[in-house]
């Protein structure tokens, strides 16, 4: 019996199209694997959630949208430039139902191209979550981030995180995050990722980036660093999570690297699936779960 994998995404309406592509790639490359997709959001309209649920159902999965209104926390963030959604992935342990013990968070700018079972089964030991660092040839970025944030570990990328929710419930506190924003807002370049590293870096287990959070811009670096071993043939067999970091995104004009064609074909596969559901039947609309029901 294969265990169900719990996937978490947290985003606003703008990112629904790439989310759909990510989900199609996840299901296509993980046949016979059961998935539940938790979507934590603030204000995605019901009809869009219905269309997404239809897509997920057609792929054999289950969508669990959770609408969060922000009243879970005592105070709203003081800075307008940090949207509420940015907290959701850090605070997911307080939003997801207690019956969910472990969750795999995935950014929407991802293609899943192989099985994620081995990632799901990673032994976290006494750590709260697993994540990869995106190291450069000289670890220069890590060095700068260590000085900037006062940390002594690699700079973890928050795009792929396997989270132990019982631990996260104990360790991650909204008050701490709020305090950091108040005190250090000028230091925070990528707010949620910086907070993850600054406050919680010591609770993170590092997992290999080339397997679980492959930066799609960095093929030449991975190839060179492995002395030619990690060529395309190696990558397409051994990489499960291909992360399209930075800009342009592969759904934008002029994206052109070794993985663009792969991305765009998944976009075609997704659009063909979506055409089947159009026009949306409002009567069959899914009633989204709210955080308090769960």
């Amino acid at each position: 019996m294969v265990q169900r994998i719990e996937i978490l995404v947290t985003l606003n309406e703008t990112y629904l199209p790439p989310l759909q592509v990510m989900l199609v790639s996840l299901f296509e490359n993980n046949p016979h694997q059961s998935f539940r997709i938790w979507l934590i959001h603030r204000q995605i309209p019901d009809e869009k959630l219905t269309a997404l649920a239809q897509l997920v159902n057609s792929l054999g999965g289950q969508l669990k949208p959770i609408k969060v209104d922000g009243q879970h926390w005592t105070s709203a963030p003081t800075e307008a430039r940090y949207p509420m959604e940015m907290y959701f992935r850090l605070l997911c342990a307080n939003i997801l139902p207690k019956s969910v013990k472990r969750v795999l968070y995935l950014d929407p700018d991802i293609l899943v191209i192989n099985s994620v079972q081995a990632l799901w089964q990673v032994d976290l030991g006494d750590k709260m979550l697993a994540a990869a660092t995106h190291s450069g040839m000289t670890h220069l970025v890590t060095g700068i981030n260590n000085i900037r944030l006062g940390t002594d570990h690699g700079y973890y990328n928050s795009g792929v995180m396997l989270i132990d929710l019982a631990q996260a419930r104990q360790i991650i506190k909204f008050a701490d995050i709020e305090r950091i924003i108040d005190e250090h807002s000028d230091l925070l370049l990528l707010p949620d990722q910086d907070i993850l590293n600054f406050l919680y870096g010591e609770y993170i287990k590092e997992i290999p980036e080339e397997n679980w959070n492959y930066d799609a811009r960095k093929y030449p670096l991975y190839f060179t660093r492995s002395l030619g071993k990690h060529d395309l043939q190696w990558t397409l067999v051994n990489t499960a999570v291909l992360h399209f970091c930075g800009h342009p995104k592969p759904w934008e004009a002029h994206h052109d690297n070794r993985f663009t064609a792969l991305y765009l074909n998944y976009q075609q596969l997704t659009q063909r699936r979506l055409q089947v559901f159009a026009p949306i039947d409002v009567a069959s609309s899914v009633k989204p779960t709210t955080a308090s029901d769960s």
Copy 2:
């Protein structure tokens, strides 16, 4: 009601692995389209045909293998360097059952990445078949081939052909092919393709190569020739048949162009599907149709 599309492949055992990848891409990118796959061969073992039939069934299609022993023609070819399989695509009208009126021949070194419905419905007018030419920037190759073969039309690629079988039955004669081989064997570089062009070029309707027979090596040429219009974004939406001409093939080491990752992901999808059927159940073996039954 969508019309069933009849696909033809003619190959030996060596090309079964890429054929499987081609078929997975065909079905994945043509959902809700019914396909029958005619496989004309000489000596593919039954257990391999069974595995292939299981794959095709799992994709929602039907495999129709036809074993040809060569006794259809009055004499065997005189030159050992031309294997019998090379005739099968040219002579398919004499091998396929008369109930099949039209067939789409596809090489195994192909990915189908969009709908082939518009190709299937091409109006052939009074022509026998539709094919694309692989023109260079200056049509130099066509010029050389015209001199070499004494033709006055583009040099057609025989990797993708939409064939009207009633016409082909009238026009294509084994005796003519045999005579050409006897008389001109030193001129024939790519025997079946040269014969197609030399003997039957006047019966061919040209179709746009970038839609129906895109040479995957030629992205920079297509991009430049279209003044940048045919970028990856255009290609992944408008190209249906991506043909990995030349060497190395994308399943061989060191293949590295803009479509390698796409190919290798389809190879992964295919291998995962095949693992489901292993080990092969010999008892459920498909009885291949022989040419005489059809």
